[in-house]
Amino acid sequence: MRSKKLYQKLIESCLFIFLFNITLHAQFTYFGRNKVQYEVFDWQVLKTEHFDIYYYPQFSEIAEIGAQFAEEAYDDLKFKFNHVVLQRIPLIFYNTHLHFQQTNTVPGILPEGVGGFFEFMKGRVVLPYDGSLKQFKHVIKHELVHVFMTNKIRRIQNDFRLTSENLPPLWFVEGLAEFWSTEWDDQAEMILRDGVLNGYIPGLSEIDKISGTFLMYKVGQKILEFVSEKYGEDKILLLIENFWKSSNFEDIWKITLGVNYSEFDKEWKYYLRKKYFPVVKDEDLPGFSAKKITDFGFNFSPVYYNDNKENWIIFLANRDGYSSIYKIKVGEGKTSKPELILQGEKTDEFESLHLFRSSIDVSNDGIIAFVSKSKGRDNINFFDLRNNRLSFSKSFENILSISNPKFSFDAQKLVFSGIDLKGFRDLYVFDLIRDKLIRLTNDYYDDRNPSFSPDGKFVVFSSDRTSQNKNFYYNLFLIDLHDFEIKKITSINSDQAYPIFSRDGQKIIFTSNINGVSNLWFIKVNISRADSIIVDNKIEQLTAFTSSVYDPNLKDSALIFCSFENFSFQIYEIDNYIRESQRFNKKISISNDSLRVNWIIKGIDGFKVKERIRYEREYTLDFAQSHITTNPVYGTSGGALFSISDLMSDDHYQFLIFNTAQSRDEFLKSFNIAITRISLAQKTNYAYGVFHFSGRRYDIRDSDEYFFERSFGIYFGLSYPFSFFRRLEATFSLANSDKEVFFTSKSRKALLLTNSVSYVFDNSLWASSGPIDGSRFMVLLGLTNDIKFSNVNYFSFMLDYRNYLRLGLKSAFATRFQFFFNEGKEARRFFMGGNWDLRGYPRWSIRGEKLWLTSFEFRFPLIDQITVRFPFLTMNLFEFRGATFFDMGNAWDIKYNQTLGSVGFGIRMNLFGVLVLRYDIGKRIEDGFRRFQDGLFYQFFFGWDF
């Protein structure tokens, strides 16, 4: 009986997903955030020799350039891999990350840190553009390395008739993609230096510790660079071509390079020490030569502010899982603890504060300008520090993405970078007094980090409009706000960024990676000179840190900035930067005539274009799955589930078919089928379909009867998201149901009309075993009527509220309140019992048409890591969490009997990010809440915390 029930549950679970009918599995799966389609994209297709490129018309210029990058990358990668990909490769381009996050090509929510991906099911490469052609070229090639590598390995597995579908380990996959798509840059150098100097770079034997992190990408890249230097670059391809020789990548490593992981680690770590230890001879760790203002979390964009009483630093940070704005008091050699000003990522107005992509600024009169994402586009927000409230927010019609706002010295204007519909990142000035927007640049050069001169007549910014030998370099430029003339300030074959004027306007301070990592430099200027603003054709060094510096800001002679140390971003201060610069006395000439300014890049050559057409949906298989079950009591049944969708995965068709016949004459009537269409292209997602189900059932939501039911009908569901956090859902179904109860003469016919509407809110923050901050809420109203025979007639009400009060970084106090109510004829039952709700009681053993449950739970970290070393294997298990809990509730049909409860302690362990194992020990509260049970209960199961 159990296998049949479970099998039925599996099918019904799938059907639930298709139907959006939350009353079927309302108890477990109705929360979650929303991927909102704010735009309906008018997809076009550009077919080149090897690619089908999907883009929308406003983005056509950049898409054509991207097509050229893709074909160039293909030509290069076919040498590197000695392979060609015969299938046409779909590339899907979005013009900003905001649009990219709306893609349906992957089902989950895409975090801001994802710069693009290669999706295996349909072989799609999906990428956003972020205003930088250099970065676009890199990401296209990075993803194409994945395409080639996967294609080649699948070919090898096929040739050798290998049944395994292994791929190399993730560090190799991503390391190779980086190694063959980009140069070693200052960001990579910063990470490796920090890792070596602080001792956290693993060897191959322990590289799993950093799996999935950005560190892994860079360590992988560096390992392959080392292999290339020491063993020859051909060995890298040979590692792939030898892939058939073993299912264990370490064996392949040994066969190809002649060394196993431990032997390699010795060479590799020695190489790193030789390379990076000498760095500290001439350069300092930031914490050792600057004053550390923060010491925890990821902190960016510090800005000075004085409120006439005290000195503060305002900054953007993620210190607890949410990106937020903080302030910290400084002065007299002391700093206070950071205080929260505004928390992001919890409300519709501040879905994201773009921690890694933008910055904040503060005017002299205490207005913070910062960027937030809200409902599909970016806004600039103005927060009044003195009155502690949001003054107003501003968005601009044709500007999708905004970054790096900066006030003028008189706080009457704001300059920022914005990405428009074409994907161009250009500069804009917003006049706060006149409420007027002026566009300063309009081209495909990536213009960023703008800031005003003290007199407000100029804006200095960083731009990639200089190039040499097809490499783009970011240099500093000055734009005159009177006539928009752009003048070059630096012309160096390195990247210069974050320029700011000194208060007296005689210096521009900026970062430059001319020496490998980004340090602070300055250049003397005189902006009143019409002929040449540069006083001295040299840049002078201000800092010599081992790590990179970002977001500098000045107050008189004091300088604050953000830097990377010990794998976190912290804020530092130098009291007197002028005195500091005299330590170095290092100057570099800035004139480099070999750099081209205002380079021109063309899109793909006409002869390489095969066709340009409008996108039309063509459906291909997503997955197909089949089951056969056999049971000595119920016999054999079998079925299949498969899904097709279009290339954008906006439109799905799902087919479920199975048969439970036990004899030939039952065959036709035992056919179970459901066909569903799901549409995700617009903001309102909807699904509809038809079904026919027939078979023997035992349903714990019904009375304790074993019955045969035949049911067929139609259903419809829709989901309307108000924002990232909130949505409305509605369902409708009409089903004919004929039920015959076994071992009795009871039968029941009904024509069931079921409707429901629900509201869901979810802004919870998740830790390794479940939510730890925020809250979740669902309320549902439903009605089920038998419109023909009046045999069924009940209404439903469900309320589920959960709140997570953060107590510490990894601890929280969680509360849950559920009230489920079905009332009427043949009302369905709810059920509880087990680790997922009322702990201490057998799973799903308590049933009733009404149910209530309250839980209180204190969640805390228990053990960070357990390492078990066997002679042949080392196992690392991470993040054991503990909980103490108190549950109470009950379920009933007509008469409420008593309140049940339990108290106890539990341990949870997240297994590889996929499953949470849980073990609870406690005591039931019995006998009308009067006594504890004798002894203890022990329950082991899986499942996330509520």
Binding site: D75, K78, F79, N82, H83, V84, L86, R155, N158, D159, F160, R161, G232, E233, D234, K235, L238, W244, K245, S246, D251, G258
Partner: protein
Amino acid sequence: MVKYLKFLFSLVLFIVYITLFNSCGKKIQIPNYLKPDNIWSHYGYDSERRFFVDDSLHLPLKILYRTELKAGLNYSSVTTMDKFLFVGDLKGNVYKIALNSGKIENYNNFKQPILTNIMIKENELFIPLAATKEKMSYLISYDLVKGEEKKRIPLEGSVEKEILIVNGDIFLATTSGIIYKIRKDLVEDWKIETGSQIYSHPAAGDKFLVTGTIDGWVYIISYDGKINKKFKVNNSLKSGFSIDESKIYFGDAFGFMYCYDYGQEKFLFTKKLDAPILAIPSIDRENIYIGDLKGNVYALSKQTGDLKWKKLLGGLINNAILIVGNKLVVPNFQKKIFILDKFNGEILQEIELDGRIKFSPVYIDHKLILGCDDKKIICLSN
């Protein structure tokens, strides 16, 4: 219950039958001793690997047959003798295929991948088995008439590149960088350890053989095992060598094409091409012909290296071009075979196939035989 058991029993029988049927082909055998006619016993036609057949190729070519094998193929070619083709696949199957019809007459499974050419000598097959994680590499001597293994010679490393038969003796190199000579009586005569890895195809000239390592060392070794000359080029050697009189031609992974005159002990020329070279150069009376990974075909003077002409075909050319009379047969990895005029590179015919072409073409009995990565042997004829 009875019905259920009957069904289960039938299913098991069916599975056993299919497994046995698939795993036991009839063994490779020939009814009596073959005349050594129509021999293509080497990769490259002869031990110098010139890939040159002095015959005429009539166009247009059409597909005569496609023969599907059981597993994939590596970069190699078929071997032919009399009316049969012999080829090995990556699952260790060795096939005997009728040349005229493409029908698989027999096959044997040797359970280890075969990455190179099967060699033939007087009704004896030499089957090189690559090493796997569990098994070492072997060279098998197989008696075609008796249909059985004569001897299995174990090798250190893995034999994954072409072997040579010169005057009955066998020369081969393994990926561990060991060069072997195995005498006619199937006894190891000598071996030389280079201390590196070898992923290039050796060639044999007049009393010497030449091979190269992955780190750029070239070894010229006499047949009695003496290293006569050893020199290094700057880049990795992963293609192979071809010899014309005392001149040795080879390309490296950076795209340099070399001609080393063994007699004069000096380089006659070094020429930089547009892309890395993985193919072996083909040589006729005047020129060498080579393809690169950009899909270019070059005709260079074999004396001076001067470029006679260059043709961009696209795709990848990572296996040797075949010269048949005044035509070039160019296998392009991008599923195409090109027939070019060898005097000017003009495309005379282009044929698109279903799979990427892995085999260097073999021309025998007015038939052109190739292998593709869709597990097929293709025969083209006029």
